[in-house]
Symmetry: D2
Subunit: 284 residues, 4 copies
């Protein structure tokens, strides 16, 4: 991915977008490696993701951004250009269940996570040894109902200081305040341990067990100020039967959670996810 | 399955049940082909399903039922004995979507459905040709809000007359009245076109599309008087992405519906499903 | 899909293809509805599928084909343009297992199959009643080892006479001769009842049962003269366990076969499948 | 699982087994918690797994084993009784890919692995830091073609010294010699990174990529002296498409491998797997 740029575009549906963009890239010696697009018939919004390689005489990424300005303006585009080789700076928030954290740290260490984990924050001390063994800062920030906003301000300070671009709630068992949710909008992914919209809120595996479902699931979604209502990025399920206890659900579910969260993280950090109102466009 | 009997048992958890039952069968030359059991730690109810083959000097099924009486009484058992070779008499109710009906009729015709479809009832005339081509009676019983209970009484008359043991709602788009639901309790399976408990009620695929889920599903469950709340027998899902319209969901979902309904029907007619409060025990 | 054209392109990877094609379409008032592309790093071949809507002053599809000639020549493209509203003319070949045939005919009748089934050919008489009830011609062409090439020439005559564009082997239990395989190359889809490349050849479910696998599968692929070796279009699996007999595999497998074959048929008739040597590019 | 015993039985199919066993348990105040059985119509072998809780006046496990002897003899049974609370002693063998190892160690540490990992052995030094951080012995035993049998004797010495009951090949990239395979027969699980029997031997993901399959898989199986031919315990698959490189297969596959291996390990250590010739009976 050396010398490549990922361009994402959102704009109203119109004739000529693809021609304008690809003409622009060809004119500046950009060679298109991947391209995907989607026009939503409901919202009449157009979404595009292009990965292109810079040629020998191509402009720099900063120049590309500037040169693209007039086209963006003509079509009313929101656009972003990312250096494909640059890793997203990620903070992981966790409480006491360490399976998602451990999974992400292992991917981080073995070089298969397309992200730089720059800090781990927790309201509990339990994961410190694991995190520090990986050579990553661990911030233990306890929280009570009374201190919630204070603790969140501390979190925000860490995120700012570390230049965090994406916050991952890897079984962080605190509901973010509307203020923090808003501040992290579009830059915060949560793993919820049910197949949303079933079983929102607390103890979803126990809810699922009580209902007698035959599949349990996990959902990775962007955090919004409506609890477990944010745009869904990915979901997965696993079969269960009557012999499984709610505790078995927790064990089986933890495998699905790890896989779904890692996948959502990859989609996000490869800039494959574009938000479309309450939904997502995911260019896999 | 010639000369075999399926015994199902529900009773409070106690020591000695398995020994008493298997001792009884051995004493009467019953050879156990399949056996499955489950003790629910929550409800403290015990569930068992045994398939046994009659020996040369075994009693008849009627005698077996009688002889088993004292054991059943001792342990407080509800029990049933079914001739394994006898096919359950089934009525199918349908409206305008014919995919589940067609799937069941094809299985019926090719001999892979463990059931005798004795009648098809519909509030629309559309499926008459298909059903009659299969040599099965078709009852067109139109319905309006005003005539609902009258129409249901006509349905009940057909079910009675045909000796129906199981009623299958194969995309029958009318909500049964509490009276009819109660009358068919435990003997009526519905296919709901969502992954319950998500998206109860009308137009679940459109609800799912609006929410932007990444998997859609179907649920086969027993009908109760609480809409889409009955004990779940089986569920299945299929992946979707942002490019699928609600109409695509309908198409993809119809395949899942057919498969899940056929599977639930097989479980029921092989006497593999025991109801446990609001849940099911399914001995696959 | 009224007034829309599906353009598929295969050519060597080069700079400027996307810009040239989208520029061409914009110049002739073609509005791009869907677009997908892929450059294979191994074969250095480029694949593209574009669906565009003709504008008020756009050329006809015949003129579009002609006008596109110089671009195709410049980039060494193989290309096709299809009227998106036109249904592919399909022949179904079948033997004695009718589940795939029944499934396709039901989709055909209910309008969800993007194809016109113009004839059904079989080496057995069994499916005649079903097919003729659907108002479709049924050709019973028996075959023996000795008469194989003769029978195949009869098949070819029917395909020619009916203007068949795609031949579907829906559990047709005869191996096509190399001559017929070659004649139908890229225009003939087979459903094989295993997860290829496991269990090629005869009785794959019995092979799978003997091996004790924990998942069984089905594979839709293009027919080539190497048995069960053609480019794979789609695959699916279903779990099994030790209690399933080989006959159970046959029953369960038949559901997977129907679904996979219908899906492959949809991909092909929507011109989503491009052959890449021994593999396929499928733009879902 | 305190005070509970897991009884597994294999013997020829005969009348009266279930009654004899359950009568025996009842007579000694054993309360049956779980029971599963299967009679294989092909091999005419009977398999049973029973979990029972000892009563206040029940014999000890050693006495139970002795008392059961006459019944075992009468029916020609192979049987085992395991203390359900006792954890199996496990050795993990690994080479350079650490994802399965890391996954198992995390489950070990968080208490969800029903096993005691007593040693890790590797032909490479890479995983030492991870393993020792978990407080587990790491044996680095390099190997060449010439030293293979010597190294294997060192492995056997470690296994003996540590009292290892199950050896897990967690992406150990050496083929065991026939001698070692035989010595570990039934006590050694391998994870193969393909959906067996497809793609045996080396580089299965690259084989799968070259063939153009649409699903890739992983298989956990007992090791025998025939490479990748041993009895299969569990399998899983994941969808891929034309855009995935062989390296992508490796990444995606590693998630499936971890999950399947952990599941097979759980089945084995809960004594749910009984070998039936070249196949397995798995009582889930």
């Amino acid at each position: 991915m050396q010398n490549s740029i990922i361009l994402t575009i959102t704009c109203p549906v119109r004739v000529g977008i693809v021609a304008a963009v690809s003409g622009f890239l060809t004119a500046h010696e950009g060679f298109i490696i991947e391209a995907a697009q989607y026009g939503d018939p409901d919202s009449q919004r157009f979404f595009q993701r292009i990965v292109f390689r810079r040629g020998d005489h191509s402009p720099s990424i900063e120049e590309f951004r500037q040169l693209f300005g007039p086209i963006a303006e003509r079509f009313g585009m929101d656009f972003q250009m990312h250096d494909a080789a640059r890793k997203t700076r990620v903070a992981i928030l966790v409480s006491k269940f360490g399976h998602c954290l451990n999974d992400l740290l292992h991917r981080h260490q073995s070089g298969t996570l397309n992200a730089e984990v720059v800090t781990v924050i927790s309201n509990h001390p339990d994961m410190r040894a694991l995190v520090e063994w990986h050579g990553i800062d661990y911030h233990h920030l306890p929280v009570t109902a009374v201190t919630k906003r204070d603790q969140e301000r501390q979190i925000e300070a860490v995120l700012r200081e570390k230049g965090v671009e994406l916050t991952v709630l890897a079984r962080y068992m605190q509901v973010l305040s509307p203020e923090l949710s808003a501040a992290l909008s579009g830059r915060c992914i949560n793993i919820h341990h049910s197949f949303l919209p079933s079983f929102k809120g607390a103890k979803p595996y126990h809810q699922a067990h009580a209902r007698g479902v035959k599949l349990i699931g996990a959902t990775a979604h962007y955090v919004t100020d409506a609890l477990d209502e944010g745009p869904i990025i990915d979901q997965e399920v696993s079969p269960v039967d009557h012999t499984y206890t709610a505790d078995d659900y927790v064990k089986i579910g933890s495998d699905i959670e790890s896989v779904v969260l890692a996948r959502a993280l990859r989609y996000h950090t490869e800039h494959r996810v574009l938000v479309n109102g309450m939904k997502t466009v995911v260019f896999k």
